[in-house]
Assembly symmetry: C2
């Protein structure tokens, strides 16, 4: 048989992949704060593995822009650089644009129906002010043309850069949005009371405290 596939084989679980996912999620959900230093030795101890798979995972995270590796010196969680986030978002948007253009008129009927369904749930969640559910439905909808296209390179790009954008969004809304809502109320009251300085201070907090770069020392 002259057709030896580039098939991806049966993925036996690799430590480096597990470590990658755990570190990625920890950075995205804010367990590791922007600016925080990551020492491969400590991470290895924490995860119960050796430095080798940790280092391989950190290299991947470096390619995603989630960590900054300074060669012989340090490895830190990247600070939230608005420009870098915009750049990644532009690339992601281009990927979705490609998927939509290429699958237009070629989607299976039930794919279209699943998109309609997702959009229905999206609208309902928005009406109910359920942001989390709305975001889930939104993601589900946009993933359908991507999955239908079956372009591995495109999917690799999305997997590489989505975490960076997702982290910015999550930290922006402080995880569950509760703190954001509280701060919004604070801001509104201060505005109503005519406290310009206080309002400005809270406003500054809202836009700068979460993606902070210097309040990160722990662990």
């Amino acid at each position: 048989m002259p057709i030896p596939q580039n098939a991806a084989a049966v993925d036996r679980s690799l430590l480096r992949d597990d470590v990658y996912r755990r570190l990625r999620d920890a950075i995205v959900d804010g367990t590791f704060l922007p600016g925080e230093q990551l020492k491969d030795g400590e991470l290895a101890d924490w995860l119960g593995v050796s430095r080798t798979p940790v280092r391989e995972a950190l290299l991947r995270l470096g390619a995603s822009g989630l960590v900054v590796v300074v060669p012989g010196r340090s490895t830190t969680v990247s600070t939230i650089d608005p420009q870098a986030v915009r750049d990644a978002r532009d690339v992601i948007a281009a990927m979705h644009g490609l998927a939509v253009r290429e699958t237009a008129g070629r989607l299976a009927a039930d794919d279209v129906e699943r998109m309609r369904d997702a959009n229905r749930r999206f609208a309902e969640a928005l009406a109910a002010d359920d942001v989390a559910t709305a975001l889930d439905a939104d993601e589900e909808l946009h993933r359908i043309p991507v999955a239908a296209l079956r372009n591995r390179a495109l999917e690799a790009v999305l997997e590489q850069f989505e975490p960076l954008v997702r982290r910015a969004e999550l930290l922006r809304f402080s995880g569950d949005g509760r703190a954001s809502v509280d701060r919004h109320e604070q801001l509104i009251e201060l505005l109503a009371a005519g406290d310009a300085e206080g309002a400005a201070s809270v406003n500054f907090d809202i836009w700068h405290s979460l993606p902070a770069e210097d309040d990160a020392e722990a662990q």
Copy 2:
């Protein structure tokens, strides 16, 4: 100073990067043939380094689709999968599309002039049937909007997937195109002589022998 940059630091040369570039170039220019098995131990000996930087480079090449790593089993140069090449080309085209759209009307005057100049040289090379120079000019032209945009994520995507496409093009034309030209002449003569079988055989060679998947054993 509360603005700790995610700056990339002064890059002291890392063995893993050197190894990555050498292996990438060797695969792209056909030194390592599609389907050929790469053993990290042998590569390490060959390059005079240890397995560690070699393995890190191979992981990057795996992300680019230039090598296929089967976990506990083998590491091989990927065969030239036309679909994978098309996928990568689509992603690359989308990146160039993004760069062009975003820089439209915002390019510096001398960038525009450099594009005009590159296009002039492109046309001249085409008129002179100088394919290599034409391809260089073409690449130079398209790189200008990309460089102007200064989007690190976009540049990372291009660096990741361009080698895969470039290899397919190079192997397709057998390096300098000389062999291709010879084979074309062969084909033409056979056609003129009415040798249908011979012509069909050469034609098959032209389209299948270079991106071959099974004539690859040598080290």
